[in-house]
């Protein structure tokens, strides 16, 4: 306790001192600020988060931070320490294999002991922690002035059911469609991204394009490698999530459309019937003429296309275009433990890598990531992607704000597994029709989620 008071005193002193310095320095440093210290100060100006900006080098202390990713965790700490050299971040990597990270974290929160000051949550389970009592600190006030510079869906994901912001993200896994340029050019007559996007802009157009592609290639090339590519987009295009506020299962019209669309593309052989992530699916990415379109989120450019198609980085092979329905796929959110004694220091840490313009731009470039920062996105990345040959920041900018983040619920993982199971049987011809699909799906949801009303 004594130690804590001492620390608090230091922090307060640092805040006050830094306040005066920043007040002097702020005015003249907007344009010419090459050093990381002043760039942080500059970003304070942009975001106007705290009334008294802190000189990062003066900030001292120690916080604990857990991450489930052994690459991202240390990279974040390294970026932070470059600007805040005197804040010690004790990082622990706890992989989430078999929900290890989630379980360890939940036990710690329950016991109220050994909880890290800052911890992340992935899109698959972020809602669980956002809604979990005692987990994340309410950041609504703190984030009030910075959230407008973030992509709205990322804020929606980090917001709980009582409209309190609990977690923020440094990245935005915006979804798009990656397509094989040679195939598009050869069989559809164009490889222009806007033209391809137009050909995929609705269900009817997708079917039309798929037919054209199949006929022109003599059945050699399918529109999608798997129905699951379409699933990502259709589910992203829903207006309501799987479960509504009354805890009732919702079958959105897009889900309904997806069931029919998937069946059609399977029977018409407009998809290759491969499982997402299967070896066959991966090799289709590298193959020249098997399928044309993949659901590609921001991270998918390097990690779906780049890592599977070794020739992709030479350029010219892949294009990227706007999806028929905007969606996001993945992402990591960060929040502060609700009962931490170091909330201010932890906030500096979270705020730093979710708002600092220069850091976020560098981070995105170094990690082929996409920053959750509208100002940085607007500027553009300043370079063309080697794989898809376009400035990705500029490419995503027009539609990032139309993504719906409200459709994420804590039950998605379970519900989508039931949906996949029924759909795979349906597509294999083992379930007779759509009515049966919906009946089986509802039964399965009912069995697996006892607190959800299924009608």
């Amino acid at each position: 306790m004594k130690k804590f008071k001492k620390l608090l005193a230091i922090i307060v002193c640092v805040f006050m001192m830094a306040g005066t310095f920043a007040a002097c320095g702020g005015g003249e440093e907007v344009t010419e600020s090459p050093s990381p210290v002043s760039s942080a100060v500059a970003s304070e100006k942009v975001t106007e988060a705290s009334p008294a900006a802190v000189n990062p080098a003066d900030l001292k202390g120690e916080i604990t931070f857990w991450h489930f990713n052994k690459d991202e965790g240390p990279a974040i700490v390294a970026a932070f320490n470059k600007v805040y050299p005197n804040v010690k971040v004790n990082l622990s990597i706890v992989p989430d294999k078999d929900q290890q990270f989630q379980n360890k974290l939940t036990s710690a929160i329950r016991a109220g002991q050994g909880v890290p000051d800052v911890f992340p949550a992935e899109s698959a389970f972020v809602k669980r922690f956002v809604e979990m009592p005692d987990a994340f600190l309410d950041l609504t006030e703190k984030a009030a002035s910075i959230k407008d510079n973030m992509i709205p869906f990322t804020v929606e994901v980090g917001t709980d059911s009582s409209q309190k912001i609990r977690a923020l993200s440094h990245q935005a896994a915006v979804g798009a469609v990656g397509f094989k340029k040679s195939v598009a050019k050869k069989y559809l007559g164009t490889d222009d991204a806007a033209a391809v996007a137009e050909m995929l802009s609705s269900q009817d157009k997708m079917l039309e394009t798929a037919k054209k592609l199949k006929d022109a290639s003599g059945g050699k090339v399918a529109l999608f490698p798997s129905w699951e590519e379409a699933k990502k987009m259709y589910l992203g295009g829903r207006s309501e999530g799987w479960v509504n506020t009354e805890k009732k299962l919702v079958i959105d019209s897009k889900v309904d459309e997806l069931i029919d669309f998937s069946k059609t593309i399977r029977t018409e052989k407009y998809e290759l019937a491969l499982d997402q992530w299967s070896p066959g699916w991966a090799s289709a990415i590298a193959a020249d003429e098997q399928a044309m379109c993949w659901a590609i989120p921001t991270w998918g450019v390097p990690w779906i296309i780049g890592s599977n198609d070794k020739k992709a980085a030479d350029g010219g092979r892949w294009g990227i275009c706007k999806p028929p329905f905007t969606y996001f796929w993945g992402g990591t959110w960060f929040g502060i433990y609700s009962k931490t004694e170091k909330a201010d220091l932890a906030w500096e840490f979270v705020k730093f890598f979710t708002t600092d313009n220069a850091t976020m731009k560098d981070w995105a470039k170094a990690n082929q990531d996409f920053p959750n920062n509208l100002a940085v996105i607007k500027e553009g990345s300043g370079e063309e992607s080697k794989i898809v040959g376009t400035d990705l920041f500029k490419f995503y900018e027009p539609f990032v704000t139309s993504i719906n983040g409200k459709i994420l619920t804590p039950y998605d993982d379970t519900i989508e597994r039931q949906f996949d199971d029924v759909m795979k049987s349906y597509l294999a011809g083992k379930v007779k029709d759509k009515a049966e699909v919906l009946k089986l799906f509802k039964e399965k949801v009912k069995t697996n989620l006892k607190d959800i009303t299924v009608e």
Partner: protein, 301 residues
């Protein structure tokens, strides 16, 4: 004599100290979790920060009318029988052949090692290996069958109930027959050579020797194998989990009891009901094991 020695022994109590670590570990990692699971089965808990709420027998009322649970019990039993019967038959047969000194087979040791090999590989890797072999679109099994003209178009093995169950049983059989074989071999080796020699001299053929001498003499091994496979079979998890995308696909027809419990607890975050499934499974295993032990006892009489 021994009692006399012990009477003045002041150190006997230290024995408890020596066995304490084992019991401590057992208590912490086995007894406590089991008791805690039983406790949880009477509660409603999402594994989160709100404490478990006592709900009495509500979960059990749900369990006895839970068709998915009974489906999983049926699946498990079917797949266990489909695996354990061929496994036993094969293992005994191979054990008899490999231990028979009147049969000349070159490299008996080599075969013994080869048959045991699958057992050394991690279950999950074996599951994944078979998953890829059975993949209907790109798997090697369909490619082979199509190449030799058995199939004209790929067959979706893992979407067919019978094929999925057979695949799981087959995989388990492939993994475990070598292990059973070793146990039977040691059982056969323990039979006095004289018996086989006497049979040989008396002109008994292989078949008669096998039924009249080998089988009756290794009844103990057979029962041991049976009992361990009851427990192993009813708690099967890894292979079905990997082969069915963790879902017991297609449509829960290959969902095992443990898989259902795992999904309910760790994927659906319903710790209360997951524990109830555990208790249900515990009762079933208990019944089967009791029957198996009764059989063992009978043999000892």
């Amino acid at each position: 004599m021994l009692n006399k020695l012990r009477a003045g022994d002041k150190y006997g109590q230290y024995g408890y100290l020596f066995i304490a670590p084992f019991f401590l570990v057992l208590a912490i990692f086995t007894v406590f979790p089991m008791c805690y699971s039983v406790f949880l089965s009477f509660t409603s808990w999402d594994g989160g920060t709100i404490d478990p709420k006592f709900v009495g027998l509500e979960n059990f009322a749900e369990l006895i009318k839970d068709s998915t649970f009974f489906q999983s019990v049926r699946n498990t039993l079917v797949m266990w029988i489909m695996n354990v019967v061929p496994q036993m038959v094969f293992a005994i047969g191979l054990a008899a052949i490999l231990t028979d000194k009147y049969i000349e087979i070159k490299g008996k040791g080599f075969f013994r090692a080869i048959f045991y090999l699958p057992n050394l590989v991690t279950m999950a890797s074996v599951g994944l290996l078979f998953y890829y072999i059975l993949d209907w679109n790109t798997g090697s099994l369909n490619m082979l069958l199509m190449k030799i003209g058995v199939l004209s178009e790929p067959f979706n093995w893992l979407q067919d109930v019978a094929a999925t169950r057979i695949s799981i049983s087959f995989t388990l059989w492939w993994m475990w027959f070598g292990y059973s074989m070793l146990i039977f071999m040691s059982g056969i080796k323990a039979i006095s050579e004289d018996l086989f020699e006497a049979a040989h001299v008396d002109g008994a053929n292989k078949w008669q020797t096998f039924w009249k001498i080998t089988i009756p003499s290794i009844k103990g091994s057979i029962l041991y194998n049976f009992v361990t496979s009851v427990i192993g079979g009813l708690t099967m998890f890894d292979i079905p989990y990997v082969l069915t995308s963790g879902q017991g696909a297609p449509l829960e027809k290959a969902l095992t009891i443990v898989n259902y419990m795992y999904n309910m607890t760790f994927r659906n975050n319903n710790f209360g009901y997951g524990a109830t499934i555990f208790v249900g499974m515990f009762v079933i295993v208990l019944v089967f094991v009791t029957i198996a032990y009764k059989l063992l006892d009978k043999k000892n009489d």
